[in-house]
Amino acid sequence: MVQHCDEEVLALMALGETVDARDDAHVQQCPRCQSRVDQLAAVVATTRSLTDDDRPVTPPASVWSGITEELGLADPPSTVVSLDRARSRRRTWMFAAAAAVVGIALGSVVTVGVQESGTQADLVAQASLDPIEDSGYQGTASVETVDGNAVLVVSVPDLPALSDQYYEVWMATPDTATMVAIGTLNPGQEGRFVLPTGMDMTSFPVVDVSVEAFDGDAGHSAKSVVRGQLAT
């Protein structure tokens, strides 16, 4: 019986990764596996060619009211609007294709170690995160470059688990007037976040961790637990 390639291997081939010579040889002569790779590769190619214009846009509210009016339906509940608004305010996807250079304009680079996978991490900035309004918690933040990507590493060891709220990491301007949502921090875990390519970290040196409700509101809750400023 023919031993076909693992689906995970076929997916990696579709992304253009080099795989084991045996897998490669099998796909060369197996129409089934070859066609799987071709299908997925077509999806990958289209996805890689996406631009901001392809992002789904929410139609104006007048469209839905026009539909209910034309069909003579009772005016709808507000869920249509509120959910779409919440979705449109989520962090947007970065369609930036293959950007090799990371926009870090922070001082000297110190090699801090070699990670498990053999890739090298360079420390470019760090901060201690201090308690806000006597929250009592304390942590650290650092920015490393790993394979050309800027990675923010956040650790706040003693954060308690929350039942119906969660912690979110932000980077902000020194006056905290402008904030960029970076990602979710789970209690008891170190958070690692790849920063958007081209983000100028000197403009957003403040690292902040806030408590957020599951309310679909993507804005900062104004309830911070720790904060600190990155320095080189």
Partner: protein, 225 residues
């Protein structure tokens, strides 16, 4: 107090269920769900695409509302790309949902998904739009070069692109970061595992599952009916 709790639960579930019902997911036995007052939209959020299709065809107005909530962005965005005008796209979107509702008995779940059917209707409404536009052009400009051909825009390609972008925007973490790095930064799975400090197997299985989901979404919802 009770209503506050309901609202809180509702919000949490909405967030949890928002956009996580890909086509082909197991259908929920709708009748087995007890429906407390005030949390209707939570249950609507749990409806599979198939359940919405069945309810839509049978004339349940909540299914129209939910279909609009899930797929009006797709219809509108494709129409906007095709016509180049937000106003025209709004007209086409309205006309699409109005005709879909009026001809709902013609929806056959055996032939395709509800979004695929909606898109086939929106292609016809786009064709109407272009015909109307070319008539106007002929009236106002004797040498208008606009053709009557409704196929002059590659709508199928647009549908696929918007479907893919939509699927990407629905991703939660860590899948989103993994796929961003794989698609747009061209990192290998080994590099991604290093950057995100995740096990190799986790990265590989997320990649495999997500590519498969994208392919299915194009097959099911991007199919030309």
């Amino acid at each position: 107090m009770k209503s506050d709790d309901d609202e809180r639960i509702q919000k949490r579930l909405r967030r949890r269920y928002r956009g996580v019902t890909p086509a082909g997911s197991p259908s929920v036995a709708m009748d087995s769900i007890v429906q407390p007052e005030g949390v209707r939209s939570v249950l609507v959020d749990e409806w599979t695409d198939e359940a919405i299709g069945a309810r839509f065809a049978s004339g349940d107005e909540r299914a129209l509302e939910e279909a609009y909530r899930r797929w009006s962005r797709l219809v509108f965005t494709v129409a906007q790309r095709a016509t180049g005008s937000p106003d025209d796209a709004a007209d086409v979107t309205q006309a699409t949902f109005v005709s879909a509702w009026r001809s709902r008995q013609g929806f056959d779940a055996n032939k395709g998904s509800l979004p695929a059917w909606l898109m086939s209707i929106s292609r016809r409404r786009l064709a109407d739009h272009w015909k109307e536009r070319s008539r106007e052009m002929r009236r106002t400009d004797a040498v208008a070069r606009v053709t009557d051909d409704p196929e002059h825009e590659p709508v199928d390609g647009l549908v696929d692109r918007v479907l893919l972008a939509d699927e990407l925007e629905r991703l939660g973490e860590p899948q989103r970061r993994i796929m961003e790095l794989a698609f747009f930064q061209d990192l290998t799975h080994v590099q991604i595992a290093g950057v995100l400090d995740l096990p190799l197997g986790t990265v590989k299985s997320h990649i495999r599952r997500f590519l498969d989901r994208l392919r299915t979404r194009l097959e099911v919802d991007g199919a030309a009916l």
